[in-house]
């Protein structure tokens, strides 16, 4: 069963066609990837799915609900969480406070509760704290919990961003180049982490990645984009043998 459906998606910036007639589906409980050369339009696709860009035309559905014309915050509430290519943590806040942000859309206390410290507000605060700490434990950054996010080692910042996304209790998690800047050991840890997210929480994972080793190891399905068009899709083995894909990455052999 598919959880995310993208149909005939198109994105135009003036004369530049960033994404052209792109369609793909993501099956429930899978780990899928979108790959493609630099500038192929991968992040644009992510930004449209999460509501940051408005597609010129096309349809995006999460679990049967259309996401078109929704604000990013509404889409998050519907069950989609994301991380960013260049880390977008709240730099001055503690790691714990960073993760608490994810619970915002799952809680509802407003000004009244905050002013009078009502019973339900206190309970909700306890719940927020509890969930945030669980997420921090899950990605393994507890020892940095009280430090400012900007003072964390780079790898821990990457995991923290994932923890923050998990705190929104998503159905599907979009990771934009999660392995960028990680060393070999950290990448191995990330692979385990992504598997655990799927296995323990039944969260579907869709990621953009450049690291072929990592993609081959954990992706069950790959969609390849070049110049905003889908050029191939399938299992890692199928896709990486595909001539069009090799051509897109390495160029065509010139016949003189």
């Amino acid at each position: 069963m598919s959880i995310l459906t993208v149909k005939n998606l198109k994105l135009q910036f003036g004369g530049l066609l960033a994404v052209n007639d792109l369609s793909f589906t993501v099956e429930k409980n899978t780990i899928s990837s979108i790959i493609g050369p630099n500038g192929a339009g991968k992040t644009s696709v992510f930004n449209m799915i999460t509501g940051f860009y408005r597609p010129t035309s096309g349809e995006i559905e999460l679990d049967g609900t259309s996401l078109i014309n929704n604000k990013p915050s509404q889409i998050t509430k519907l069950g989609m969480a994301r991380t960013f290519q260049n880390l977008r943590l709240f730099p001055n806040l503690s790691a714990l406070d960073n993760v608490k942000s994810g619970m915002h859309c799952r809680t509802k206390e407003a000004v009244w509760g905050a002013l009078f410290h009502t019973k339900s507000q206190k309970e909700e605060e306890r719940l927020i704290d509890e969930v945030a700490q669980e997420c921090i434990d899950f990605v393994g950054v507890r020892k940095y919990m009280k430090r400012s996010a900007k003072n964390l080692p780079y790898g821990a910042q990457r995991y923290l961003e994932i923890a923050r996304a998990l705190a929104t209790k998503p159905k599907i998690l979009l990771l934009d180049e999660p392995a960028a800047g990680l060393n070999f050991e950290e990448k191995q840890y990330l692979i385990q982490l992504i598997r655990r997210i799927r296995d323990e929480f039944q969260i579907t994972v869709l990621m953009i990645e450049h690291d072929m080793g990592l993609i081959k190891e954990i992706s069950e399905h790959i969609t390849v984009i070049d110049y905003g068009c889908k050029i191939a899709e399938g299992t890692p083995d199928e896709v990486l043998k595909n001539e069009k894909v090799i051509e897109a990455y390495l160029g065509k052999e010139d016949v003189i």
Partner: protein
């Protein structure tokens, strides 16, 4: 540690309540003004400190409160206490009016629009008949509690003291809630906050409206304390002084902002001996301060523990980062 903090706070409040018995009328007046600034800076602290929206027209909300109370009490003969909720509603609406067109603006552009809004309110007050044009409104009646008329310097000192304590409490509690955290997330990274499911439009408007309500409260009390108000009290300079107190004290920090408010009012008074030189000295002091401590006197701390390297205490195998 926390208990110690609580006790010293309680002591400060008691001292504040006893102080009028010890001070002469001049210093009592200065202290009353400090408390007005405490309320105003706490309100602005929500907008600038928490949410990170630079507002150069905050005195406009102070004016909305003062004029609403003044008009309702003089023209319509309302009781002072009834004017407070009306002033708060007007201020909240004004906050949303200035907030809505600025939602997409950031930093310098936002500052210009809020500055313009501040000027619009002031110029309206100068030109409208209902606000008494340039000479303002005078003969605002004294508020009463039962049959007791609040009229002495002390009465107003206690009134504004209570409101100042309440506003500190309100800003503190909001700051430590889901709403307050959402404001800070917006300040730290607007897009990331939106991606985490925070509706930035609604929360920014709430921030403007809450800040405006607190500012209007100070305005309402200002009107009955002075018993006459004029557009001069709500000038651009007033907005700048309030903002100055917030920045000087430490953006987002409640005790810092209280100290900032006290400094901005008391320092020029202390320097009175220097006569014409006093604003020059005041200005130089501010410049030096900003060079050597740009984060403010008591900056807000977000790290809840010291930064001794936690690598050393790594013993739990399950959660270690390196594999």
């Amino acid at each position: 540690m926390k208990k110690y903090k609580k006790h010293s706070l309680l002591l400060l409040v008691i001292v504040m309540f006893i102080l009028p018995l010890l001070l002469d009328i001049y210093w009592l007046d200065v202290l009353t003004l400090v408390l007005f600034y405490v309320v105003l800076t706490q309100g602005l602290n929500i907008v600038v400190g928490y949410t990170g929206l630079l507002d150069l027209g905050y005195a406009a909300f102070f004016a909305v409160g003062a004029y609403t109370t003044a008009i309702l009490m003089t023209t319509f003969h309302w009781s002072f206490w009834l004017t407070l909720p009306v002033a708060a509603i007007f201020a909240a609406v004004a906050g949303i009016i200035v907030g809505t067109p600025t939602l997409r603006l950031r930093s310098d552009y936002l500052a210009i629009v809020t500055l313009g809004f501040g000027e619009i309110v002031r110029i309206l007050a100068i030109n409208l008949d209902i606000t008494g044009s340039a000479s303002g409104i005078y003969g605002i009646p004294r508020p009463t509690i039962g049959s007791y008329v609040l009229s002495s310097q002390q009465d107003f000192y206690y009134l504004i003291l209570i409101v100042a304590i309440l506003s500190v409490l309100v800003v503190y509690r909001l700051g430590h809630s889901r709403i307050g955290r959402a404001w800070v997330y917006i300040r730290e990274d607007e897009d990331a906050a939106e991606a985490m499911g925070i509706n930035r439009i609604r929360l920014k408007l709430l921030s403007y409206a809450t800040g405006a309500v607190i500012g209007s409260l100070a305005g309402s009390i200002f009107a009955v304390k002075m018993s006459a108000i004029a557009p001069l009290s709500f000038s651009f300079l007033q907005s700048v002084m309030i903002l100055l107190a917030v920045v000087l004290g430490g953006l987002g920090s409640i005790p810092g902002v209280v100290i900032g408010a006290a400094l901005v009012i008391v320092l020029p008074e202390v320097l009175r001996g220097a006569e014409d030189w006093r604003y020059l000295i005041f200005g130089v002091a501010l410049v030096i301060m900003m060079i050597f401590r740009p984060q403010g006197i008591l900056p807000k701390k977000y790290e809840t523990e010291d930064r001794s390297d936690p690598e050393e205490e790594t013993n739990d195998k399950n959660h270690s980062i390196s594999v």
